[in-house]
Assembly symmetry: C2
Homo-oligomer: 204 residues x 2
């Protein structure tokens, strides 16, 4: 149940972040693209609600603690311009998906399938690489600033992961299991981060 | 084509307004409800894009001028609290739909059908009446403030309508036609406004 709450919170946070990015897009074509991606974040909401209800729960209550943690992440990474905004959503959004995917690995069939289905790529990463990549290539100063900013966002996402694990018993085992699992989580998230920064030729 | 641009801009503006309302909702259940309504604003976007493309146009370019006007409306009606925010979306969203509906009346078959399909109720009005109605009933001071605020929002929506008509030749006829048509438009919008305020027992 906790994981379904986390995935729901992740969808709502991704929706809100992309919707806010859309309004701040420098042109209407970008606004349209990001608006559609935001809408796409909600695709699995009805399924998540049914799955939580089947387990006797309430979607809003299940999502609430994680939504607060995800809101903190956004509040602690206020972008100063459009490029920092693109990087924030790219890095934070990607790492939150890494986190959810890693946490769903250990679960039983139906929840795992639903959680992983809900984490499909929405095309945002490709959009960022396509629009920001060429700009970074010709502006080393911007590249340096965004590399620093990417590390800052990644640091906040790793703090978030620790808070999520604290709020969401993971896995259901002893302290040794938990330690190993958290190490695997951090490794999945930092690996994903390095890969994403690499796609933009930025140092992770 | 201009009307398809207006309807697209209306959908994008409604999406952005509801997404912003969702993040500001006082509880997670409200956030979920408003997030879903925001997502619902995009239902007809693909159809609108096809219809504009069929006419040799580009959706973003068609929507751009109206999106700027709708953004002005939002910028000129910044809510000071949650209740003003609910009223802003209720009144402005409703009047923009009244405007689009009235403007689509005079059009030919397929555009008219598409435009009117895209203007379906998303349940926001009922949501506002359900959540705000009981609060207003026991707080005459709040009711007075919101009545004033509703008039302010309605005034801005009527200014918007004049700017839209200026940007979107309507109808395709002489100056006399235009004057009659604009009068019908204002009458449809003020009628809708009075009805919406009435549902909350507020003076229009």
């Amino acid at each position: 149940m906790a994981l379904l709450g986390l995935v729901t919170a992740g969808a709502l946070a991704s929706f809100a972040r992309l919707a806010d990015d859309a309004v701040n897009a420098p042109d209407i074509a970008g606004r349209l693209t990001l608006t559609r991606m935001a809408g796409g974040s909600l695709t699995h909401l009805d399924e998540l609600e049914r799955a939580v209800a089947d387990r006797g729960g309430d979607l809003a209550a299940a999502a609430a603690p994680f939504l607060a943690l995800l809101g903190d992440l956004d509040a602690r990474t206020t972008p100063r311009d459009w490029w920092e905004r693109l990087i924030r959503t790219y890095i934070a959004g990607g790492m939150v998906i890494d986190l959810q995917r890693a946490m769903s690995e250990g679960l039983d069939g139906s929840v795992r399938t639903l959680a992983q289905d809900a984490l499909v790529e929405n095309g945002h990463a490709d959009y960022v690489v396509r629009t920001l990549g060429p700009v970074i290539e010709v502006d080393p100063q911007l590249a340096a600033r965004l590399a620093l900013w990417g590390r800052r966002v990644a640091g906040e996402a790793l703090s978030l992961a620790q808070n999520v694990v604290r709020a969401c018993p993971f896995p259901e085992g002893g302290a040794d299991d938990a330690e190993t699992a958290v190490a695997a989580l951090v490794s999945a998230m930092t690996g994903g981060h390095a890969r994403r920064m690499g796609r933009l030729s930025l140092t992770a």
